[in-house]
Amino acid sequence: MNVQGTAAPEARRRRNTLGRVSPTRLLLLSVAAGSAVLSLLWTLLTGFVEPRAALSFGALIAAGELARITLPGRREVAPIASAGALGYTFLLSVGGAAVSLPAWQVIAVVALGLAVGELPHMSVGRMPLWNDLARRLLLVLMVALPFRLLLHQLPHVAGNWWVVLCVMVGLVLAAWLVDSVVAATIRAEEWRTRLGVALADELRAQFAVGTAIGAIGILIALASAVAGLYSLLLFTAPLLVTQVAFRRYADIRRTYVQTVRSLSRVTEVGGYVETGHSRRVSRLAWAIGCELAMRESRLLELEYAALMHDIGQLSLREPISSGATVLISRREQRRIAELGAAIIRETGVLDGVAEIVRRQCEPCEGEEGESEGPPPLGSRIIKVANAYDDLVGDTADHDRVATAVQLLRDDSGREYDADVVEAAVRVLERSGAVR
């Protein structure tokens, strides 16, 4: 049993297939690191303005970074740190006494705060997602430079709250958009999906947390003007509420995936399918889905469906020999698919997944003589991934891989969707399985 060792190799393999270093990522990291170093140097040479404010905000940012969360889709956010950083960026006066912070000092304080908050994580070996960390700094850079420049050019604006408010909102929106584009570009390059799809995913995923961060950041800056630095204490309330809500949501989403992944193994433990079959199929299906530019919610459905595609076999009296569904009769395949779909539909929340599972064994043009039309893309992908894994299994034997690919290609157009087969071949080529 290699149950113990499945997690690590899986992660490694996933990285091998997908984790290429994207040029945008390199650019992002160097810009962030460069600006952090430059701003620190500059601030060290010219000295700190308003050390008390710098210290308070720095502490808030560090605490926020310490409490960072990983949202679904491997997105790391630190709402408290980001909101604190925005608050510091927009700081115009503390308790009535006007302060004029140089943009470089803002960046230096934020960078220091992030670093301090990240240290405890790194000391226990929990490395941050570097691009997300860099983006947190970049966001501040994008807002601080124009904002401070603008104030410098038009000093009389600072008195008019309404104008300042509009400028703040506009800047936050613009910076958020640019930030999303950067994130989407990196994602598209690493996951091999289309930029438009990645951007839409990114905007959707970041909308709620981004709005909350922006609103609270502006709020902190405004309140500091009246109440001084006490406002930081006062504002821990909405910050904490938001943080807790996002953390819980992220936790349950992660748990959900883990549950489905784990329970999909019952078919293996029960001897219905080969060990690791469900996971290999879901990994391949997921990579094909990325290649075909499916959006994230669809990818998640696809992953669930792929993990559970054999669950109908639980209703069988005796396991099929080595679980290779590709080798049994069409009628039997359909029955298993329908039984599986019935189980999944029982949950009441996974109807999309059930539909994919139900139609997973139909030919790519749909069943003859039935009016349902072609099966959903997810079903067609699972059909290909499942057939490939049934034929190849967990070997890296190039001859077997080549034969399987040939078989799939021969049947594509009738049985298998030609686009899906070609996408699968591209994925396999990248992973080194096909030479």
């Binding site: 001084g228 909405p238 938001t242 349950i252 433990v269 929340v349």
Partner: protein, 449 residues
């Protein structure tokens, strides 16, 4: 009658109260904002808890326009945009108004000054404000509690049985919302009503996220239950076993007073305790009569198999122990590790009792369901040797108080649909037999090899 009294009190307060020093524009804006906040909050939320973001609007009103102003703004929430009966509207409005009025006086008494707070007020304005917040939640709780009492929804229980934890949590969250009220008041001077938007926006997002979390949690639970039941489809007679064990385990947990987080994990553990059964060949599970030693070893493996399957589910920590050791016995003759006494994890001791109880009260192919009384007697019988007496007592108390719905007797299944087990490894009254004697005899004979 009660509602009438509350409304009357509010009307008097508003009619009497001095209006000097209240900025009418601010008051009108606050009233409008209050209505909007309340409407949106009911749209976002399913509306169960008594505390809503609108309480921060109410507390902002306390600071900005004083007790009478807060009462007026509170009463405006009668106009909230949602379908609701007139009486309920009246009561809600009056309740907010009265709470605002009381909080306003508390604020003034503690030394606060009505109006937009200025620099000099900080940080000491926080003290009267905290007093106002406390009074506000207190008044709300008392008013709603009174209504519940009169309607008979709530019974007065002895203080020992009341769980204080949820109250403390409610109080804390209301303090959080209250702090927001001060935020609104603080930046009111700078950006006016826009302050409310700025403050409530993140709050609504948090609530929306929270609701999503709850929906996702429900989906997760439903999926988990379904998948567990799918594992049981193999055996017609044990259908629903996992759900019922989960239920019985959480009854025991409640009786022991487990905190909410652990109780939740316990539910999952109960649900998942038998997933490993799938790793046992069907023909062994369903074999009539005595088992060979190899076959018995295969059955003994199922808690381990279950552990292997669910090991990677992150939140389960404690539940994993429960799944792995649910067939240990107090006297140390159980499997897989032969732990004894309190060396057995608490969850495992709970699940063992719940598991046996459900098994005995449901029908098996080789016998009919036993009555609850018989099952209880059998549990008592094995208490101390097989089961932890504390857990047995907890289950018995809980069943006595809340009752227990045994599964409806099932008809013998259609041969084509399902398989039928000839014995059940969970059944304490009919222990598995392996050739050469009972399980326990065999095990005590040749030691733990």
């Amino acid at each position: 009658m009660y509602i009438g009294l509350v409304v009357l009190a509010v009307v008097t307060a508003i009619a009497v109260g001095p209006y000097t020093g209240i900025d009418p524009v601010t008051l009108a804006l606050l009233a409008v904002l209050f209505v909007v906040a309340e409407s949106i909050s009911t749209m976002v939320d399913s509306g169960k808890a008594g505390i809503s973001p609108s309480s921060s609007a109410s507390l902002a009103a306390v600071v900005l326009v004083g007790p009478v102003g807060a009462a007026v703004a509170g009463l405006a929430s009668c106009l909230v945009i949602r379908r609701q009966s007139v009486v309920k509207r009246l009561f809600n409005g009056a309740q907010f108004a009265l709470a605002g009025y009381a909080a306003g006086h508390a604020f003034l008494l503690a030394g606060g000054e009505t109006g937009v707070p200025v620099r000099a007020d900080f940080p000491w304005v926080v003290l009267p404000f905290a007093a106002a917040t406390l009074v506000h939640t207190l008044a709300n709780t008392v008013l709603v509690g009174g209504l519940m009492l009169i309607l008979g929804v709530l019974r007065v229980e002895s203080p020992r049985r009341v769980r204080w934890r949820p109250f403390a949590r409610l109080e804390l969250s209301s303090l959080g919302y209250g702090a927001l009220g001060l935020c609104i008041a603080t930046i009111w001077g700078a950006v006016g009503p826009f302050a409310v938007l700025l403050v409530l926006l993140p709050l609504f997002i948090a609530r929306w996220t929270f609701n999503q979390y709850i929906a996702e949690q429900r989906a997760h639970d439903a999926t988990l239950a379904t998948l567990c039941q799918a594992v049981e489809t193999k055996d017609y007679y044990t259908r629903g076993h996992c759900v019922r064990v989960s239920e019985a385990a959480s009854m025991i947990g409640r009786e022991l007073g487990l905190p909410a987080e652990r109780a939740h994990t316990l539910r999952y553990a109960g649900m998942l305790h038998d997933v490993g059964k799938l790793g046992v060949p069907t023909k062994v599970l369903q074999k009539p009569g005595k088992l060979t030693e190899e076959e018995f070893a295969a059955i003994q493996l199922h808690p381990m198999r279950g552990y292997e399957i669910v090991r990677e589910i992150g939140f389960l920590d404690e539940a994993l122990d429960g799944i792995m050791h649910h067939h240990e016995r107090m006297d140390g003759r159980g499997y897989p590790a032969g732990l004894s006494g309190t060396g057995i994890p608490e969850f495992a001791r709970i699940i063992a009792v719940a598991d046996a109880f459900d098994c005995m009260t449901s029908t098996r192919s080789y016998r009919n369901a036993r009555s609850i009384g018989e099952a209880v007697a059998e549990l008592r019988n094995c208490s101390g040797t097989q089961f932890d007496p504390a857990m047995v007592n907890a289950l018995i108390t809980a069943v006595d108080r809340d009752g227990w719905d045994p599964p409806v007797a099932v008809d013998p299944p259609d041969e084509d649909i399902a398989e039928v087990a000839q014995q059940d490894h969970d059944d304490p009254s009919a222990p598995l037999r392996i050739t050469g004697g009972t399980v326990s005899d065999e095990r005590s004979g040749d030691g733990r090899s």
